[in-house]
Symmetry: C2
Subunit: 441 residues, 2 copies
Amino acid sequence: MATNPGLSQTELHDAWPLLSREDQVAGFRLLSREESEQLFDTLDAREQCELILALPPGQRRSWMRLLAPDDAADVVQGAENPEERAALLDLLDEPTRKEVLALLAYAEDEAGGLMSPRFARLRPDMTVDAAISYLRRQREGQVETIYYAYVLDGQQHLLGVVSLRDLVTASPAKHVSEVMETDVISAQEGMDQEILSHLFADHDLAAIPVVDETGRMKGIVTVDDIVDVVREEATEDMHKIGGAEALDAPYPEVGLGGMLRKRAGWLSLLVLLEFLSVLAMRGYQHSLAKVLVLTIFVPLIISCGGNSGSQASTLIVRAMALNEVRLRDWWHVIRRELAVGLSLGIILGTIGMLTAVAFLSLFAPAEIRGHHFSIAVTVGLSIVGVALWGTMAGSMLPFVLRSLGFDPASASGPLVATLVDASGLVIYLTIATLILRGTLL
Amino acid sequence: MATNPGLSQTELHDAWPLLSREDQVAGFRLLSREESEQLFDTLDAREQCELILALPPGQRRSWMRLLAPDDAADVVQGAENPEERAALLDLLDEPTRKEVLALLAYAEDEAGGLMSPRFARLRPDMTVDAAISYLRRQREGQVETIYYAYVLDGQQHLLGVVSLRDLVTASPAKHVSEVMETDVISAQEGMDQEILSHLFADHDLAAIPVVDETGRMKGIVTVDDIVDVVREEATEDMHKIGGAEALDAPYPEVGLGGMLRKRAGWLSLLVLLEFLSVLAMRGYQHSLAKVLVLTIFVPLIISCGGNSGSQASTLIVRAMALNEVRLRDWWHVIRRELAVGLSLGIILGTIGMLTAVAFLSLFAPAEIRGHHFSIAVTVGLSIVGVALWGTMAGSMLPFVLRSLGFDPASASGPLVATLVDASGLVIYLTIATLILRGTLL
């Protein structure tokens, strides 16, 4: 796409992921300063990083300095190599660089990595009046929000929190210690962002202070950062449920090499695992040779197991991520899924049996005339068995993975389907042997 | 679990989903008023509704009146039948009931259904000083937030927005019209909540005003409501990707009947669709009878197609939900997935071929001695074909669904896998015919 000097800020924002780096920079530089700042704000950290590095060196500094320290840390983390990171850090003023370096010590997905170190601090012995005028003096950018102020002692221990609302409605001569809330919900630096997001949800909070293990306050996380966290965590889980590794970047930004690295691993493992069903098929080769019509239904039977398994595992993985189901609830889940799996099996088995009767009366080879019904019953009962087994396996695998310390979302639909294939075949061919022995087999 | 008089508020919160209604009520009533209010706040709307209805009639009113109108509307919506809804509405005071009834006219998943009608209103000709003291007088509950105030004309048209921060830092004698921001990002009443959540993300806003088509302001949506929206939308999409309908309730709260209604539909359809692959197997029955060893690899081949298809569709469905990929990007996606699918096919095909050679040399029946290599090549090439085809079909189905007006998330892993099964068999058995014609076939 050629650079279009008429592209507005909104058009450029919409077209951004599809433009080449050169066209992005060219379009960006054609905007007015105000428009380009608005566009810059809508980009995510990785895009901001790429854009800054693509700008001429003389223009980089002002963009990097627009960012609050937590956002600047994200941008630095978005750089691909240490040289670029160092170059970005060098663009910052000295105090901000120190703050950013401190933030970079935290993992991206823990409370410390999300927090801003710029929060409004008050002393307990200040008057309400003094606190308000102190907060009024905080300039934009100096603190993340003035709506919540944190009351610290001389050693930076968190004593309480007070909202601007509480301050403006309190009598001006009171002390901050008299109006502050001391029962503060706070997060440890290393708290996982997913748990942190549940803390926000459970308590309907706008900001949560982050403290170290001695209770010293290090920063605040605000609810707008949590929106991104919830979205990211869901994306990661979905990518895993789909049988890939988390892409960790927007789809259009991942190159062919990156895609293959994230997508080929699981699929390759699954090809190898699927040889279990090749083995199962080989084991029943003699029965299949005798009653060839049984092979016709193999894709149907194993797909029923795979589909019910994918469904069950996805529901459980999501329920675990939402904290609706915990490890110790496995017994409740197993009883529930036993009932669901059996019911689904009976429904699907009935549909399968009836359709098989119709199919056989239309398309059956001559040699099994007179055995249509027993074959259809075999198909129906096998579907009951594999749907029940698929549901149980799919719902329990996330528990097994989590109890072993793995991510339950790795119990992807494709993994469950593949694992259930071989056992589904054994169920099918065992039932066939039992029903058809003495007649066809 | 028997009622335990020693259960603390946190313990009760953790155990909540597992307790019977009676035990929930008994535990709840044993808490102090303060603790029970804290617990009540952490429950979601459906749980609050069930709890209120389970309390003795005399105690219901005070709990319903604790709620802000938008939360009260959610609780009323959580009731199962019209009588319960009417009973809950009757617990409210008259002005709140009117507000709640107005909110109930909106769908739950649109901006109007999320907004609170209680926002802080200012007139443009007020002085900053008057505005601050007006905001100070707003009691807790009277408005959702005093940190953002909306400037309206006499007909309730939205003229601008001003933050408490802007007010406290402005000179007190100025007029509100001089300090307000007039370039306001607002949402239409009927805007879908998913689009609204992107608006919050793109502009990093704490609150967005909701207006009707004539620009009259109806309420505000705050970012903490958006956290729930993002979580809910992701949950719905995941349930669909797993091949179920969205449960629309936490897993432990859905009874057996509800589970079956949400889960049996898609699976039943898929059983019927899978008869396409039964037909495909029947069509090649003569070839399979001649070279029975070909049947052994059927589960392997179709699973490769299903797995690559599930993976591709999940990635595209999520990218669409995040607005990273739009309908008009289909051409970019098709080119990308063509390259990815072919590369994956070559990787998986090579693994499959090598493993098939090893497998055949260990387990092959005597009659195909001397043909191991050509069979392994057949398997390998078929995997290339089905992986490529699965990837293409999986990535394009979400586009087809969306362009027809359906939810792209309905392109679930199980649906894609089932659709790809029959065509995968045709690919496999066509390649087998081409390679083995004149030797085994």
